[in-house]
Amino acid sequence: MKNMKFSFPAPLVDPSVEELRLEVRRFLEEERSKGMFTPGADCWCAGIDTEFSRKLGAKGWLGVTWPKQYGGQELTALHRYAITEELLVAGAPVHAHWIADRQSGPLILQCGSEAMKKDILPRIAAGTCYFALGLSEPGAGSDLAAVRTRAVRVEGGWSITGTKLWSSGAQVCEYMSVLARTSTLDEKHRHAGLTQFLVRLDSPGVSIRGIRDMSGVEHFNETNFTDVFVPEDAVLGEVGDGWTQITSELAMERSGPERFLSTFVVLESAFAQVAGKTQSPQQAAVMGRLVARIRALRSMSLGVATLLNNGYMPDVEAAIVKELGTRFEQELIEKLREFWPITMAQGGADEFQNLLSESLLRQPSFTLRGGTNEILKGIIARGLGLR
């Protein structure tokens, strides 16, 4: 009789992690009180502030796990985790550098050329070089293997033609990592023949058009590539290896704190609303339940980080964190509205109401981005042996 046992080991926490966490927290409190930023919901996807990104870079809080020779601090994943949490719960405007710091940098570190590493990584760590993801297309969302952007060999490099959709932040980004087909699609091996390219967004043939989302934010973009030339060393890793790169990237970023803390700033604000007041038992229970779920999700997320650190590949556990966490981010708003109804658009005088509105209008995206929850459930089912 089989037992399905998921286990989440505790991270060995270095005191330096907590020191760094408190340093980041103090910095953010100061910045906030000086009016340098207003806490925003879903800040890692909605809040672009290049000056703020530069400040974080100057503090040495970006690219923290990278080798010092490339501008990193050679700190651990837990140090990065602590920094990430503090930025998220403060609602800090971190969108501009987020993708670059979280996945593009590590991708270059893993399979970029030496020249790329020396040129680009220090600038990402400085908070001055930003990346967008060129994955989805009009005809390829969950079915990423169906991308039609094509890269063909030309003299000295490649020529890329196609359209990428939903790339967030592209309008401020220097680079996009573009997934393109380099071999004709073979229906029996749909994932073969895909390659990732590093493309400069100021290249001739690139045109970017903003797309406004339903929360009013215009960070999404449609990016068209018309015979865009990239040099040979723009290939990330090996030609044809794109799918493996993408899937291993996903496992790493699937279980981080941005998968359950996107709306925490709203809960923090709700507790501020009730401070010094008598809560009804019902309100206490609703808010307390949210606290319990966050704590448990955090235990799982830290456990996955520990397992990754110890050399395991906890694909199922990571998918579970994201599946449960993103639904929780939505549920947080749906539960709080019992006590704080939400009717109005953002931009009013009441900051708490703005946070509620902003979150609600953005929440459909939580369970779609980076792999829909339905796809994640399929991954979990496969991990359990059902597929």
Partner: protein, 357 residues
């Protein structure tokens, strides 16, 4: 986990497998108490995990006992292993443990019994397996001080009924019952901690039972064929099973965290309760979701008494209510975090929530 700890858990696993199966559990419900099973546990010293070494016990850690309890729930053990461990844990808070007698425990949710002139007065409801142990550890008040008393079950009035799972739950009345022994509890002990520890025990049982439910469900949907293929090939089923696995994983993370927190030397009461509340809330909520989806995936077979699933769902439906349901602990969490966040000008909910990890 120490090496010796793993040996104890492996021994337990062998005993559980050898002595307990679906039939044994069902038979216990209908009067055939598994005496051999219970004796084997006693002989193997499993009941002494939380009895100090100085009292001829195992002197096991809190974490070891909780792991054992969680493991025992994989088998829906129809014997008071968890209650015996908890009884010994309570007795140890007053230096009253004994390796000779098996104690259950009686922990009142509201009004503690009172000890006067060596006799106990009061009523405790929901006492588990009273008829299957020889004595009870009872948290009581003596001259307004917290005290632990030991009473013989035979000397008490027990009105026994069956829980949802067919296990004994009694209303135990102490009408001036002479105690076998009593002692004040150690400084720093509290009713809240006692209640919290009992809740944590139940949370571990729920988590363990849910692990088995996930396994049963995965096995069933892989084997059962309809419409020309295994149930596991249907996306609706795959997604249900993924939901079950997710809730079980979340519950495991919560109980494992709580076991670590309460095991930390110098852990203060609020941090312990923060972790315990998280564990009981998450396991309690998961209990409803997991049972609903597991029964749905099992079809009519899962609704039968003969098939093992009901042994787990009925137990966790009872355990989720005991020592505070998720509603109780959610309310505690909401009030506690609000108080902490509002305690100072720069207080924050996050500072409180991210504690005790």
């Amino acid at each position: 986990m120490e090496n010796s700890d793993q040996i104890i858990l492996d021994t337990a696993e062998r005993l559980f497998s050898d002595y307990c199966n679906t039939e044994v559990v069902n038979n216990a419900e209908y009067g055939q108490y598994p005496d051999a099973l219970w004796r084997a546990f006693g002989d193997a010293g499993l009941l002494l995990v939380w009895v100090p070494e100085s009292e001829d016990g195992v002197g096991g850690s809190v974490g070891l006992g909780l792991s054992l309890i969680r493991q025992s729930a994989h088998f829906a053990l129809p014997v008071p292993l968890a209650e015996a461990l908890m009884g010994n844990w309570l007795l140890a808070q007053a230096g009253l443990t004994s390796a000779e007698q098996v104690s259950g425990f009686a922990l009142a949710a509201k009004t503690l019994p009172v000890l006067r002139d060596g006799a106990l007065h009061g009523v405790v409801e929901g006492v588990a397996f009273a008829s299957r142990v020889s004595q009870l550890a009872v948290l009581c008040l003596h001259d307004g001080q917290l005290c632990m008393a030991v009473v013989a079950v035979d000397a008490c009035e027990c009105s026994e009924q069956k829980s949802l799972a067919g296990e004994p739950r009694s209303v135990v009345s102490f009408a001036g019952v002479n105690v076998l022994s009593s002692a004040p509890t150690a400084a720093g002990f509290s009713i809240e901690l006692a209640f919290g520890m009992a809740a944590l025990v139940r949370a571990h049982q729920i988590a363990g039972a849910m692990e088995r439910i996930v396994g049963l469900t995965v096995g069933y949907v892989q084997e059962r064929n309809q419409f020309g293929r295994a149930l596991s090939k249907f996306q609706a089923i795959q997604h249900n099973v993924a939901d079950i696995a997710g809730e079980s994983a979340l519950a495991n993370a919560a109980v494992e965290q709580a076991a670590r927190t309460v095991s930390q030397a110098g852990c203060n009461l609020n941090d312990a309760l923060l972790a315990i509340a998280t564990a009981k809330s998450v396991t309690g909520e998961a209990a409803g979701k997991v049972t609903q989806l597991a029964h749905q995936a099992h079809g009519a077979m899962g609704f039968s008494h003969e098939y093992a699933l009901q042994q787990y769902s009925r137990r966790i439906w009872c355990w989720r209510e005991e020592f505070g349901s998720e509603f109780y602990w959610n309310e505690w969490l909401g009030q506690h975090v609000a108080a902490q966040a509002g305690a100072s000008a720069d207080g924050s909910a996050w500072a409180c929530i991210s504690r005790a990890f």
